[in-house]
Subunit: 140 residues, 4 copies
């Protein structure tokens, strides 16, 4: 799949670090999600509507490989790509880059399914969203 | 008010620390809340029922004074007291102690109001809860 | 004191929320700190140098009053003012505003002292920093 | 590898949840780490000494698969196993279980390398630690 790339910037805050003076490893997943949030916003897709609807997008898998540490005050670029798009699920690939040094710090992925919130059951991704994801995924 | 004291223990985790190699200052408030959660459990009062009801207990004020740092792996004792009990609100006082060194690390308070979740309006604390809080507050 | 005002914007992320579907109350303090970090950056003052030096800026007090909840995706504006400037300490005042609704959500303060990291003892704020803080504090 | 199993209990706190009223997906990794911390403590191995030494145990990979959500107040059991033990690295496998319902909520792994903190270079796991890990890994 030759997906387009969506990018956001993030400045590492003091609270993101741990006693090894690097960003805590769990926070990379939080940045993946932050990129995903901005990605939906860029598509004109509002989570706010989501909340009130029965649609829920739980994660089913998350993975991160750590190459080099991020430190306090580092400016990071988070890249999001669509790696796989199925009827009921989407797999996003991520790369986190130290913007100043132009170094790859981490890469990973998250897989989401569309689900009915009440019944906690997988459902097809709604067509209005799917259409936008498909267009992004096929538009390198 | 000569309140009884409720206590919990908490071990500082790596993720609680920051690059100064001490527990991040915001996490003290999270420990206040953790003590509050266990306090309600000790009273036989279930938040789970709360969630489904219209009752909501938002914080209106939180304060913390920091005396000495907590570090990774420190065993902390969090003490909870009732400092003020009103018809629609309760103010809890907290102390955080390094258990091994028997040193006071921090003290503070949080004030909660009872609220109707839908109307976002203050309401009297339900009598079944109030009774237990009153008993605790007056039983040194 | 008629301090100047420093402002940053922050978008509430999913991870910032809790099961009441509002931003968790401890995260307001984290936003206070984030504003402080950007404030130092705006003054050309680098925390990176800080880390390697013996200077440490621990918090001694933090306070927050909650007016209205912040929700997922809300765009917040965090305002920072200098409320008190002493030889060894500085007290910042904060206001958090829902940018779209122009509503005050929370206000509070944090007090920091300058300290010698190794000896864990208060020291005068270094003159190069003090000068900039003084100029900001007196420049409404 | 037929590793022994190490277990800890953890009660889901309010702050661990998000607006979907389930534990945020990033917090599973934090629980993996919490189990690892207690595991080292059970082996009589102190991170405190670690901090002052040149030894550092950065994560190189983390993975989690989510089966069912954890909710506020749920009592979780986190199981740790050694899945792979090499000269310079160790891979821990984890399972998170809802203790009351005896349901598997999530499983995953983390791989750590031993590293020299200053040179940021992989080194052999010190023999005093390796010995204990080997004994645990081979003692089902």
């Amino acid at each position: 799949m030759t997906s387009a790339v969506f990018k956001i910037l993030y400045r590492v805050s003091w609270v993101d670090t741990d006693a090894a003076q690097v960003m805590h490893f769990s926070n990379y997943l939080r940045l993946f999600e932050r990129a995903e949030e901005e990605f939906y916003r860029s598509l004109g897709f509002s989570f706010t509507e989501l909340k009130d609807s029965e649609l829920w997008l739980p994660r089913v898998e998350a993975f991160c490989q750590y190459k080099k540490p991020a430190r306090f005050n580092d400016l990071l670029e988070i890249e999001l790509r669509i790696e796989e798009l199925r009827q009921k699920s989407v797999k996003y690939g991520f790369r986190i880059i130290n913007k100043k040094k132009e170094e790859l710090l981490a890469l990973g992925y998250m897989t989401m399914v569309a689900a009915d919130k009440r019944r906690e059951k997988a459902i097809p991704i709604p067509e209005q969203i799917m259409e936008k994801l498909r267009s992004f995924a096929n538009n390198p």
